[in-house]
């Protein structure tokens, strides 16, 4: 029933799969106007070229959905101007950090990472696919917008809360601060590519 390109017309967006759209016309009505976006978090201009290339590659892949730049207060005015110049939509988000500061001296990139949880709060959208700015899209992947996930009403208690790829825990560069149990993840990858 669910197709990769049919949800605007039919409302059969599989993410609401716990209830059949046919038995629930109101859901069909709402999904006809589903708001669906890609997002990426930007905190400084050192990743801005990455974001702009990501946006360009998404458009080149023929994606039907816009990329929205989620920027923190640390992102400077010149960066905002660069986004505006290119017509890339943007939205301010808060900078998320734990109440107790964890020391990531070995990997300072992790301080900025907590803000990547902000897209869970963007309830004005029905579906968000959060991307890192250091990515390049090589082929259309709009089917991710149709992937079945738990409805928001399930409050994170279901078995399809979100979707992601596995982290690679091989530690190929032998970083000494990585956990000792990060080895031999080949079996997990075989699982990942066969699912």
């Amino acid at each position: 029933m669910a197709t990769t390109n049919g949800h605007e017309a039919s409302g059969a967006l599989p993410k609401k799969g716990i209830l059949s759209p046919r038995s629930r016309p109101s859901a069909t009505l709402r999904l006809a106007n589903a708001l669906i976006v890609w997002t990426t978090v930007i905190t400084n201009t050192s990743y801005l070229s990455g974001l702009l290339a990501l946006d360009y590659s998404l458009k080149q892949s023929g994606s039907k959905y816009p990329l929205v730049a989620l920027y923190t207060a640390t992102f400077p005015e010149e960066g905002l101007a660069a986004l505006e110049r290119r017509g890339i939509p943007k939205q301010a988000i808060g900078y998320l950090l734990p109440s107790k500061t964890k020391d990531y001296t070995n990997d300072p990139r992790f301080y900025d990472c907590w803000s990547k949880l902000a897209p869970f709060s963007l309830t004005q959208f029905d579906r968000v696919v959060q991307l890192d700015s250091d990515m390049l899209v090589l082929k259309n992947m709009d089917e991710l917008m149709d992937l079945e996930l738990d409805a928001p009403e399930m409050e994170g208690k279901g078995n399809r809360v979100f979707a992601a790829s596995h982290a690679c825990v091989c530690n190929p560069f032998k970083k000494p601060h990585y956990p000792k149990n990060w080895y031999a993840c080949v079996s997990r990858w075989i699982h990942a590519i066969s699912s």
């Binding site: 734990p98 696919v129 890192d132 990515m135 899209v137 596995h166």
Partner: protein, 123 residues
């Protein structure tokens, strides 16, 4: 544990509140060596959907001896330039990883198009 680079989400106030609540759980945070992705893997252990590697293809997987056995250039939909240096810190012909050339080529195309439209701001 998920890689936090690509996350498919149905935004939900309830899920976000659980995340905010966990950010104040000092003991849990102490155990989260990989920040956001550790937290998601912990809060929703075994309750998230696994995507194939092609949607978040960590550039390191392609390297010999890592996961080159499963990597197929023609299947990858989205490459993730994890770690440093980033491709934008390098010049074509002098890259630390062959996949950086893909980024540099695409970005050069972007800059050329932007210049033709009168955008030339150094980004």
């Amino acid at each position: 544990m998920p890689n936090g680079g690509l996350q498919v989400i149905n935004p939900s106030a309830a899920i976000y509140n659980r995340i905010l609540n966990q950010l104040t759980n000092d003991n849990a945070i102490d155990s989260y060596d990989f920040a956001d992705q550790s937290m998601l893997g912990d809060l929703f252990f075994n309750r998230w959907v696994t995507l194939p590697y092609i949607y978040n293809a960590l550039k390191t997987l392609r390297m010999k001896g890592v996961h080159d056995a499963i990597w197929r250039d023609g299947r990858v939909k989205n490459i993730h330039y994890i770690l440093s240096p980033k491709p934008w810190d390098e010049k074509s012909g002098h890259t630390s990883n062959p996949s950086h050339e893909w980024w540099l080529e695409k970005n050069a195309e972007r800059l050329k198009e932007e210049k033709a439209e009168g955008i030339d701001d150094g980004f």
